[in-house]
């Protein structure tokens, strides 16, 4: 990884962390609110179906979480397993984006259900 790329990954992880700090609080608060009337699929879908705001929130959430986690695991694997280099970086980026796509796909499902 070039040093420039290293800086960009580091910045990406910090910026996603800033977003996730707020997003996780929103997510937890939503869970607390959601279970008050008993947890049901109907109630969840009632909130998310057709709501562009929730779709946008969870899409960005999934993207941030996927990238943040993959960059973090990349650092751990580099230090503990010696997995360094372009090939591993590409693999981590793929894992991060795949994770994000699964999350966004789920959010789309809740939006379009």
């Amino acid at each position: 990884m070039s040093t420039r790329g290293g800086t960009h990954l580091w910045v990406a992880q910090r910026v996603t962390a800033m977003f996730l700090a707020v997003a996780v609080l929103v997510h937890l608060a939503t869970i607390l609110v959601a279970v008050r009337g008993g947890l049901s699929a109907a109630e969840i879908l009632g909130r998310t179906r057709g709501s562009a705001a929730w779709l946008a929130f969870y899409a960005v959430f999934a993207l941030a979480a996927g990238l943040h986690g993959a960059i973090g695991l990349r650092g751990i694997a580099a230090e503990w397993l010696g997995w360094r280099g372009r090939g591993f970086d590409a693999a981590w980026l793929t894992i991060g984006l795949l994770t994000a796509i699964f999350g966004i796909y789920a959010a789309l499902g809740l939006y379009a259900a």
Binding site: S2, T3, R4, T7, E79
Partner: protein, 244 residues
């Protein structure tokens, strides 16, 4: 005045390997660890290799691992570190051993060079003496940030105390990054962007976990951990085109 006996374990060996050897040294009042090593070499075993020069904490050449911690032996009193009258001495960690307590400092200083630790005059790129003196007011924030790290004498205590260096031999280490940070804050220096580029990334400041062993153990009271955080901050804003 003699006050009993110290039991001293000294690592003896070379690059191929080694083992601790045990010596008994007369304990004295106001005795430094360097006094103990010198006693062993002069009175017991002249083949012991170690390094020192000034004996007063100016040169930074006598650093060793004393009871598991990197220290200047000349400024460490035995009574502060001996445990039940025993001392364990080893060469500095994270550096190749030449022989016994003397390490090869070349990888350490090579990393200073790799981090562009040399001053590059802004108005005289060829290294010539500038025609005019540059005025840097002492109260300016950049001057103060540079001053905070400028007293490093390159003893290698921070480097030997750093877990990241142990994990990643490519990592530039606290001293080289601290040096880079003083130059990043030097308004007379003309190599800011090049220096920022070489200290970034997985072998540079972004590898640091901020566990701060360097800051904890620096005999000069310098804060390399803070310097590395400064480099990260500067590089962060640099990505967005903000020069700080």
């Amino acid at each position: 005045m003699e006050q009993g006996t110290l039991r001293v374990s000294v690592w003896r060996g070379d690059a191929a390997g080694g083992a601790p050897q045990f010596y008994e040294v007369p304990a004295r009042a106001n005795q430094t660890v360097l006094d103990v090593v010198t006693h062993i070499q002069r009175e017991i075993d002249p083949s012991l290799a170690y390094r020192f020069a000034c004996r007063v904490g100016m040169c930074g050449s006598c650093a060793m691992e004393v009871n598991g911690r990197a220290r200047w032996t000349c400024r460490t009193h035995v009574k502060k570190v001996a445990q039940d009258g025993t001392l364990e001495l080893r060469p500095l960690a994270n550096l190749p051993v030449i022989r016994d307590l003397a390490t090869d400092m070349a990888p350490f200083f090579d990393k200073w060079a790799r981090a562009r630790g040399t001053f590059q005059p802004k108005d005289a790129p060829d290294g010539a003496v500038p025609a005019e003196f540059h005025i840097v007011p002492p109260a300016t924030p950049k001057r103060q940030a540079a001053d905070a790290g400028i007293e490093c004498i390159g003893c290698g205590v921070c480097y030997a105390s750093c877990d990241i260096v142990a994990w990643n031999p490519e990592y530039l280490g606290p001293a080289a990054l601290n040096r880079a940070w003083t130059l990043v804050n030097d308004v007379r220096d003309g190599a800011r962007q090049e220096r920022l580029a070489v200290v970034a990334g997985d072998a540079g400041c972004h590898a640091c976990h901020s566990t701060q062993s360097c800051t904890e153990r620096c005999p000069k009271g310098i804060d390399p951990s803070g310097a590395i955080a400064g480099l990260k901050r500067t590089l962060f804003w640099n990505v967005f085109g903000v020069s700080r």
